[in-house]
Amino acid sequence: MLKSKRWINFIFQIAALVLALLFTSLILLAVGAPPLQAYKNILAGAFGSWDSFSNVLVAWVPLLLTTAGLLITFAAGLWNIGVEGQIVLGAIGTTWVLRLLQDSSWPPALILILAILAGMIGGALWAALAGVLKTFGGVNEIFGGLGLDFVATAMTLWLIFGPWKRPGIGSMSGTEPFPEHLWLPQITDFRISAWALGLAIVGMVIVYFLLQGTYFGLKLKAVGKNIKAAFLLGVPTWQYLMLSFILCGMFAGTAGAIQVTAVYHRLIPSISSGYGWLALLVAMLINYQAIWAAPVALFYAALNIGSIRLPIVLKLDSSLSGVLQGMLVLFVLLGEGVRQRLLRRS
């Protein structure tokens, strides 16, 4: 009985994937592009060479870290839309420490560690702000987070064009790049940093065990599923809500820190690259189950990277990957709705 249920789930998920591909193909046909060719190009763009695959990993790291963080807030029943801003604040925190210490004689490793810690703190503080608004101000975390996202973007622009502008004139290309010894070391010949990769994998493993096997995770789930009952069972509910915000902010902030130290080596206006939004999609797609986060995030990162060459080869906009990513989530959620409806009827 349990086994057949699992099969039905699987069939629904496959159906969602097929439908999403079908729908995206229809859109491609409507603009006069050959769908198969487009998918082939995406695949080739993501996995065609070691070089392109390392680019996929570069996108995978912040996506996985942010998804890991979101799994914590989702477990607590929170819609942490502010995660995008939390990545940005992580990047700002890291940039701030790097700027402060880049001319010092401290060892680069120490500076980098401090910078990444500052990124964690920056993300955590920004998340804590959304948490305070929610638990003490009665502001829904969706609205609070959305507002804080805009403030974070504005803050980046202000820093880039104001206090942190390049000598001479500020530009959209961001702040002055940091010297190479303050870059997170990369694997020879690849753009990806082993340290960043390690952080993401360790982070994900921590979140998996946190949610799976600890008292903390169980209490967090209780708060998320029924806050009143959790309180009566003795869980300090508002503290847990705040803590889940802060932890998620730390993960998002780490993602921001890696964007600065391992990818762009400076603060740029779109430093978060939309990974916050993408991570929300990933978390929804995997139905908040930590075990699936790594492969699905990899798939999404591959779509992102693979579609980069679409404009060159097929004269298509690279936002096609976004269409496919969005469609997939919509169809999986739709499939889930239909499945539950059928279940209730039978």
Partner: protein, 499 residues
């Protein structure tokens, strides 16, 4: 309008909420509907006003059979219902509330509507400002608003569900005058209440419901004893009860006052002893809920002291009370007490003190198996709580209680349970008493209260009675008291104790 209900049946799962009810109400009558909680009054009224549909049966309005599918349908046919909790839109103006209920034009004629509201309000002597916001009104004023709104929409039959709860004496008088006036104009008034006094003052005739059946109809003047007997049934001889030996004081309330939106309880003084069971009797919404929550730190008293054992916990929250051995089990098991989506094992683990960072799964499973067999729960360690039956959910809640406890507070512990579960749950609770816990519980089942309590507090419209000895009280007497009758006789000698 003549309103006629014929052979109405309504089931909710296994519960037969309305069992073949036939009732005919001629135009110009004020019809009282009496019955205790769960007797089927509200169900019947919801059927008539289109909120729910009967499984079978017929509704006739002015001798024409009608099918009422929704509240909007009902008002089209001239039937309007005034709910116990007003169903209005608080953040909007009175005039907007009027416009919402009426379909039609894209741009409603606001001025004309304001004029019409004023005329109607004047007619009944209500002082309602059409431009006022609804959330600035009192419960009584919101009721007045609902009445004129329903009349304005063309209601010829008005259903009022417990309308005298939460309004002032003056507003009640005005309400009754209005209802009498409307009846004289040929409107049909259906007045649902549990307050014998209100029914006596107002209604031309009364129908009494019990356990889903219409058990009797009478006309004014009424014999109160007869009504009480019809409402609560014949007295059943109680089993033998053991009198308890009072232990040390567990809970004392000193000059406690509690307020919520509807009512205010004040000057409550009570001492509860170890091993004692206190039953709280009264119709729903008479103040027992806030009282019980104040004993748990879930509601903060506006005045007075709450002392558990020898520590003053006034102003502490529930977790402060919990640390002193107080536990509260809510009536809404799945909404407030258990966590849907988590299984039994996870619940038992949550209720225990954490041992380290990681959960020992084999320990958790063993714990769950032990509790499941100790509390005779029909379910598996991995069963999600929402898959359990009501009785088993209640057992699970009891199984979550810590050991030892000084005070257990229960809200409707046996509501909706089969008799086997009721007896089992009380045997478990009495075991707690023998171990030195005190119990305070709310129930709407008077027999349960008298059977299991040592002392009883009666709640009526925000008044709390001095404790009654359960042994010396009969179901009839308690029935009177929760209907607000006979307070001065019963408690005259004890007044000093209360004050």
């Amino acid at each position: 309008m003549n309103v006629e209900l014929r052979h109405i049946h309504k089931h909710f799962g296994a519960v037969h909420a309305n069992d073949d009810i036939t009732l005919s109400i001629p135009a110009g009558t004020i019809q009282g509907i009496l019955g205790e909680n769960g007797a089927g009054k509200s169900t019947l009224m919801k059927v008539l006003s289109g909120f729910i549909q009967a499984d079978s049966g017929e509704i006739l309005l002015d001798d024409q059979p009608v099918i009422i599918k929704s509240p909007a349908d009902a008002i089209q046919h001239g039937v309007g219902m005034l709910h116990q909790d007003p169903l209005d839109f608080p953040p909007m103006r009175i005039s907007d509330n009027f416009i919402i209920g009426r379909g039609g034009a894209l741009f409603p004629n606001h001025n004309a509507i304001v004029r019409e509201i004023k005329q109607l309000a004047d007619k009944f002597g209500f002082s309602l400002d059409p431009e006022a916001y609804v959330d600035s009104l009192t419960v009584g004023e919101r009721q007045q608003l609902e009445i004129i709104r329903l009349l304005w929409l063309g209601a010829r039959a008005l259903i009022l569900d417990e309308p005298t709860t939460g309004i002032s004496a003056l507003q009640k008088e005005k309400l009754f005058t209005t209802l009498k006036l409307l009846a004289e104009q040929g409107k049909t008034i259906i007045f649902v209440s549990h307050k014998l006094e209100d029914v006596e003052q107002l209604c031309h005739r009364v129908a009494v419901l019990r356990a889903g059946q219409l058990v009797g109809e009478t006309k004014a003047p009424y014999k109160i004893e007869k009504l009480v007997e019809m409402m609560f049934g014949k007295m059943i001889t109680l089993g033998k009860r053991k009198s308890f030996k009072p232990g040390p004081v567990i809970l004392s309330l000193r000059d406690v006052a509690i307020e919520d939106a509807r009512l205010k309880l004040s000057d409550i003084n009570l001492e509860v002893h170890a091993g004692e069971v206190i039953g709280l009797a009264g119709m729903e919404g008479s103040g027992q809920g806030p009282f019980l929550r104040a004993c748990a730190g879930l509601v903060r008293p506006v005045n007075g002291k709450v002392i558990v054992g020898d520590s003053d916990l006034t102003g502490k929250n529930y977790h402060g009370f919990k640390r002193r051995g107080v536990s509260f089990l809510p009536a809404a098991r799945l909404e407030d007490g258990l966590v849907p989506g988590l299984n039994l094992t996870e619940h038992f683990i949550l209720a225990e003190k954490p041992q380290g960072l990681f959960i020992d799964n084999s320990w958790g499973r063993k714990l769950a198996e032990e509790r499941i067999s100790a509390f005779n729960i029909r379910g598996m360690p991995v069963s999600p709580v929402e898959s359990l039956s009501g009785g088993n959910q209640q057992r699970a809640l009891l199984a979550l209680l810590q050991d030892p406890l000084s005070l257990v507070l229960l809200e409707h512990p046996t509501r909706g349970l089969d008799i086997e579960s009721v007896i089992y749950i009380w045997s478990k609770l009495k075991e707690r008493c023998r171990q030195g816990s005190a119990i305070i519980f709310i129930s709407s089942d008077l027999e349960e209260i008298l059977q299991y309590s040592d002392r009883v507090l009666v709640f009526f419209s925000g008044q709390v009675s001095p404790p009654l000895e359960a042994e010396k009280t009969s179901v009839d007497q308690l029935g009177y008291l929760i209907g607000g009758k006979g307070w001065s006789d019963t408690f005259a000698s004890q007044r000093s104790l209360h004050a």
